[in-house]
């Protein structure tokens, strides 16, 4: 697996202005008949302008809910949210819909998982792109059309002028996802949330779409949050990676450091469950035993302890806090027994080593 060499690919990131996005102790829970589901609990991180953050985790680890929370797109009833999400001086938690609507599409955009269902089947793709341009900018019809056609060209759609008049069913999955990206990028957002943008696509198309996202991001100096369950997807395309488990961030580090010194057994388990080209044929896939915990009644202590090969008694009793590795303030992890191979850098701070 190749590693991203450095963050120097994004020299344009303005170091002087504050972070683009700051999450402080974000909690999101759903009220169901069975009880309260804590889908996201105590998540804090910052995202710099132009940075790419990968959010990785299994199904049900809360990554989609987290991305919807950042967007402010959660339903209004049956959901409770606390903490603070500040996007470029705008507080998103509990903001009125009118405030959010000015951000949506214009400053924050989203690419959805399934391009088959996220385009309106009875509306021409051209109008679906111009819709958001007309809404957020003062462009007239012909300007919007010209912009839309150039967007279609930028996302690599051949003969964009003809495509402009097509309906979604006339396009393949990969093409539709390109159209979704064109729609998301129409108003030059500062932050793009890509929620599993390639999960519904063929493997051959996946790489194309991810490369497209990367190159567009560089052109536009846009921050991207790439949500995925596939460590392989984020390995080469992100600056930092946050690993989520049971609604919490369990490890957060720059991509290079994470792959070099992973501290969390869960991160390792995720990596081990990725198939490799170098494996001989018919190698059994390594799966993580057990299932993700029930978020209504999570286990006491570390949520991963029931499935963790390194778990000790302490793990089942006390939840490990998210703390910095010794000698590296930027590498955070939540584990009592970090991986032995995690090198000398990843040793617990004294108060945690009891």
């Amino acid at each position: 697996m190749t590693e991203k060499t450095s963050t120097e690919e994004f020299p344009f990131v303005d170091e002087h202005s504050g972070p683009l996005l700051r999450l402080t102790d974000v909690n999101t829970s759903f009220h169901t008949v069975r009880g309260e589901v804590r889908a996201v609990s105590g998540v804090s991180f910052e995202l710099a302008r132009g940075e790419t953050l990968g959010i990785v985790g299994e199904s049900g680890s809360g990554k989609t809910v987290l991305s919807r929370s950042i967007m402010g797109l959660l339903p209004r009833s049956g959901v409770s949210q606390s903490g603070s999400i500040v996007f470029d001086d705008t507080e998103i938690v509990a903001a009125p819909v009118a405030t959010l609507r000015d951000l949506w599409g214009a400053k924050i955009a989203m690419v959805f998982q399934d391009p088959m269902t996220s385009l309106n089947p009875v509306v021409r793709i051209g109008r679906q792109i111009t819709e958001s341009l007309r809404l957020h900018t003062s462009m007239d019809k012909s300007e919007a059309k010209a912009t839309a056609i150039s967007l279609l060209e930028q996302v690599g759609i051949p003969s964009p002028v003809e495509r402009f008049r097509n309906y979604p069913h006339q396009l393949s999955g990969g093409m539709r996802q390109r159209v979704m990206i064109a729609i998301a990028l129409a108003c030059a957002p500062r932050l793009l949330l890509a929620d599993e943008p390639t999960t519904g696509l063929d493997v051959t198309v996946q790489a194309q779409i991810l490369d497209l996202l990367t190159s567009l991001q560089e052109e536009r100096r846009m921050a991207v949050i790439l949500v995925t369950h596939d460590l392989g997807v984020v390995a080469t395309r992100t600056d930092r990676i946050a690993v989520m488990y049971a609604g919490k961030i369990v490890e957060l580090a720059s991509t290079t450091k994470l792959f070099a010194n992973m501290a969390m057994p869960y991160t390792q388990a995720l990596l081990n469950s990725t198939p490799r080209l170098s494996d001989p044929s018919h190698t059994r896939l390594t799966a993580i035993d057990g299932r993700p915990p029930d978020l209504i009644d999570p286990p006491s202590g570390c949520a991963f302890s029931p499935r963790c090969p390194y778990a000790t008694e302490q793990c089942t009793l006390e939840a490990p806090p998210l703390r910095a590795a010794v000698g590296d303030e930027s590498h955070l992890f939540a584990c009592w027994n970090p991986l032995p191979g995690a090198s000398a850098g990843a040793v617990l701070t004294p108060e945690g080593a009891s």
Binding site: L73, L103, F112, T117, S118, P121, V123, S172
Partner: protein
């Protein structure tokens, strides 16, 4: 059978996403000559009703006691009734009542019930619960009994009857439109539109409406047919438009007394109503299946 081949052909669309001729063929499903025959029949009836005064017909209310209760003759193509009035002319003028009540009533039902159905399915929550409950209460009422009671108290002008049957159709339209909208309201493209900053109004009119329109159109044609039957039933009970104004239901009702003398009197208005209703139903049904884009074809 044709559905099956269509679906298979669409699956073969190459990954390049080029719109192939196959996709185009699958889209334009043949409606058939019979569909167009029904459409033509509806058009003829509507044309006749609108331009009845200019067709050189005999006065529908002109009584001629020289020729009463006649069968079809060259002077009176469909015969005459017990007052010597020309049946052909009365059927064409009578279509006006059925059409105004039918289409007018449906228009009321659609604009009120349809709007409420879409809003209710899109907003969900308390709005949906309350309006749905109200619609169930209205549906639990036997429509004919309620309409008869209201007509008896309020009177039976043409516009009053139209409003009454229109209001009576609201809960049914509401349920149909709500169900059709519900299946689209939670789709990703609605969330995607919201994520682009679209307002609720925009989502309702530009995202949801084009998707539910096929269901609305086909249901409204069938709804018009049901309302015409309701009007016929009212007329038969003597609770529709006051005589001597012709209406299909009233003509059938008046023919009862002379069934053994002049069966033509009952036959022709019944045929007019039957043919018009069956044409409406067939067109509505054909449109529904033609516009029904199966999930597999998306």
């Amino acid at each position: 059978m044709s559905n099956l081949t269509d679906a298979v052909q669409v699956d073969l669309t190459p990954e390049s996403g080029l719109p192939t001729a196959v996709v185009g063929k699958a889209k334009s499903k043949k409606l058939g000559w019979f569909f167009w025959f029904c459409v033509a029949w509806i058009a003829v009836v509507i044309f006749g009703a609108i331009f009845a005064a200019y067709l050189g017909l005999q006065d529908p209310n002109n009584q001629n006691f020289g020729s009463i209760n006649q069968g079809p003759t060259s002077a009176h193509w469909l015969g005459t009734d017990d007052l010597g009035r020309d049946i052909f002319s009365r059927i064409i003028y009578g279509a006006r009542v059925s059409l105004i009540v039918g289409f007018g009533g449906m228009l009321i039902g659609m604009s009120v019930g349809g709007t409420m159905g879409m809003v209710s399915a899109y907003r969900r929550g308390v709005t949906d619960t309350l309006v749905s409950a109200a619609s169930y209460v209205m549906l639990a009422f036997p429509i004919l009994v309620a309409v008869i009671a209201i007509v008896a108290f309020w009177g039976h002008d043409l516009w009053k009857i139209t409003i009454i049957v229109g209001v009576a159709s609201i809960p049914l339209v509401y349920r149909v439109v709500r169900a059709a909208t519900l299946s689209y309201a939670t789709r990703d493209f609605v969330t995607a539109a919201k994520a682009q900053g679209a307002t609720d109004w925009r989502i309702l009119t530009r995202e949801l409406l084009p998707n539910v329109l096929p269901a609305i159109i086909s249901f409204s044609l069938i709804g018009v047919a049901s309302i015409i039957i309701l009007e016929g039933a009212l007329a038969f009970l003597g609770l529709s438009i006051a005589p001597p104004t012709a209406s299909w239901g009233a003509m059938i009702s008046e023919s009862r007394t002379y069934l053994n003398v002049n069966p033509w009197l009952a036959l022709f208005p019944s045929m007019a109503m039957f043919l018009f209703l069956i044409a409406l139903n067939l067109v509505g049904d054909a449109l529904r299946s033609a516009m029904d884009i199966g999930e597999g074809k998306l």
